[in-house]
């Protein structure tokens, strides 16, 4: 029984991330600052981006040019992306000044930073598929950087079809997966203790 892959996975999951950690009803008392809300605000903005993006995907990339409802949904998508980045950058800076990678949390930091880079790529492809003047301009200008690295040979920013598929399928999947892993790591390791908090053996009270 214990040789089964499924049993091994279940046992490992239960050991590292029991439901009490995944859905906690208490947290360390030091988690008492507005900076902590920006992580969950980033996730909330991502949820609004995905919801509005799904509606836009159902109607097609040109819908919002000719429909008031489409323009409104596009505006929701646009502003949720702006908020997402504001929240995420504040979250990132906050975690930097907390040195949040301490205590075996290196992978948590790393997945967060990779999520930031993946978000930029996802947003960038979104700007390319607006099917308006801005996307004409951005695709013409951006091609040179990608071509100079040889990346343009496969990642063609002037190919609307390719960018649209990457924007609505591949990149959100990657970003979503990294985000899920990042959040699970936060739940597994917990929130990093204050920098000056010390164990009793070093003179601390905690």
């Amino acid at each position: 029984m214990s040789e089964m892959w499924t049993a091994k996975l279940r046992n490992k999951w239960q050991k590292n991330l029991p439901i009490e950690k995944l859905l906690p009803d208490d947290q360390p008392a030091y988690v008492a600052s507005w900076i902590y809300v920006f992580g969950v605000l980033t996730l909330a903005a991502l949820a609004v981006i995905i919801a509005s993006g799904v509606v836009l995907a159902f109607e097609g990339p040109a819908w919002y040019h000719v429909s008031h409802a489409g323009k409104f949904i596009n505006s929701l998508h646009f502003w949720s992306v702006q908020l997402f980045f504001v929240f995420m950058v504040i979250h990132l800076w906050g975690k930097f000044w907390m040195a949040a990678w301490r205590g075996n949390r290196f992978a948590t930091w790393m997945t967060g930073a990779v999520a930031f880079v993946a978000s930029i790529a996802t947003a960038f492809t979104g700007y390319l598929v607006q099917t308006n003047f801005d996307s004409q301009w951005i695709s013409f200008e951006a091609k040179d950087g990608f071509n100079s690295m040889g990346i343009g040979a496969w990642f063609n920013v002037t190919n609307l079809g390719q960018m649209l598929l990457l924007h609505v399928a591949f990149l959100p999947l990657i970003l979503g997966a990294i985000t899920v892993v990042h959040v699970l790591m936060v739940r597994k390791r917990g929130v990093v203790p204050p920098i000056d908090a010390e164990p009793i053996s070093l003179g601390g009270r905690s």
Partner: protein, 326 residues
């Protein structure tokens, strides 16, 4: 690692055994979602979103026919930006490099573009044109590559000498080139070129590469970008059309284009290959961001600059912890 540092590391890694407080994670998530959704709703209702109508070849040929005409001649002469670009469109240039790394060249030609046929001859051939234009296409096709090049290059140079003023171009042996350029201009004015360039004789198409590159060869797209404050030299990469925020998160990428040597094509290999160098720089910085926890100096900044004292001020006050002296 010293014993104290080892103890501190174990303390940071271990489950928290100090004071705790109630925490409703589901409620927190729900409230956050409601706040962000409401904020987005308000911004969307009050501000809307940018949507500038795309440029068309019809608009270009109608508002600046001379520039369109001259660009068509450049495409035939092989002197346009696209014709001389290199990979991934053709082999007419080695492209950009950083030292011994010629990645653009090494990646090869994956989206071949022949500006003569793709931009001019094929579109003209797919439409029912006047007998004069049809005859010019036949004459062009029947001529040798050397003759074609001689006609187009001499006409292209004559237009350049007249500084784009078509009425002042000196007479010469330009073969069918003036008729081809005039025919393409006429086709563009009618709106036919927009569709012909996209379809290239097919039905389903989703690739706008040829249209975008043709646009970029003339001044129409560039002028529109300048008017919209979108040029790279003026932080355009992070700007948006209208009075909307753009991709502000690209500020660091855009930053390099504002400073020497990256902002001057004449300033040696870095300026001439700025696009490639900046991609390397940003790649290294992105990697650096991911690896901050293992970069000496930077990883110590949060301990040296006590911003954390503000973040955890309540905890420090409650526990009576003063800042450690380094």
């Amino acid at each position: 690692m010293s014993a104290n540092r080892e103890l501190k590391h174990e303390f940071d890694a271990a489950p928290w055994k100090g004071k705790t407080k109630r925490y409703d994670i589901v409620k927190e998530g729900t409230i956050a979602l409601a706040i962000v959704a409401a904020l987005t709703l308000v911004l969307a209702l009050l501000m809307g979103s940018p949507d500038e109508t795309p440029l068309t070849f019809k608009g270009w040929a109608t508002t600046n026919a001379d520039n369109f005409y001259a660009t068509a001649v450049q495409e035939l002469a092989g002197s346009s930006g696209t014709a001389t670009y290199g990979g991934p469109y053709n082999k007419n240039s080695d492209g950009l490099n950083v030292g011994p790394f010629w990645l653009q060249k090494w990646a090869g030609v994956t989206h071949p573009i022949d500006t003569v046929n793709d931009f001019v001859i094929t579109p003209l051939s797919t439409q029912l044109m006047s007998s004069e234009v049809s005859s010019a296409v036949s004459t062009w096709n029947a001529a040798s590559p050397t003759q074609q090049s001689a006609w187009a290059t001499s006409y292209d140079e004559a237009i350049a000498k007249a500084e784009g003023k078509l009425s002042e171009v000196a007479a010469g042996d330009y073969g069918p080139v003036p008729t081809l350029a005039a025919g393409l201009t006429s086709m563009a004015k009618s709106g036919g070129l927009d569709a012909a360039l996209l379809s290239q004789g097919g039905f389903f198409q989703t690739d706008n590469t040829k249209q975008i590159l043709f646009f970029g060869d003339g001044s129409y797209l560039d002028d529109a970008g300048t008017a919209a404050n979108l040029q790279g030299g003026t932080w355009g990469m992070m700007n948006e059309t209208g009075r909307y925020p753009g991709q502000a998160w690209l500020w660091l990428y855009s930053f390099w284009y504002q400073i020497p040597p990256f902002n001057n094509e004449e300033s040696g290999p870095i300026g001439a290959n700025a696009d490639a160098y900046i991609m390397y720089v940003m790649g290294a910085l992105s990697l650096g961001l991911i690896l901050i926890p293992v970069i000496p100096g930077i990883r110590s900044l949060p301990m040296r600059i006590p911003i954390h004292r503000g973040i955890w001020s309540q905890y420090y006050k409650a526990e009576g912890i003063k800042r450690r002296k380094k």
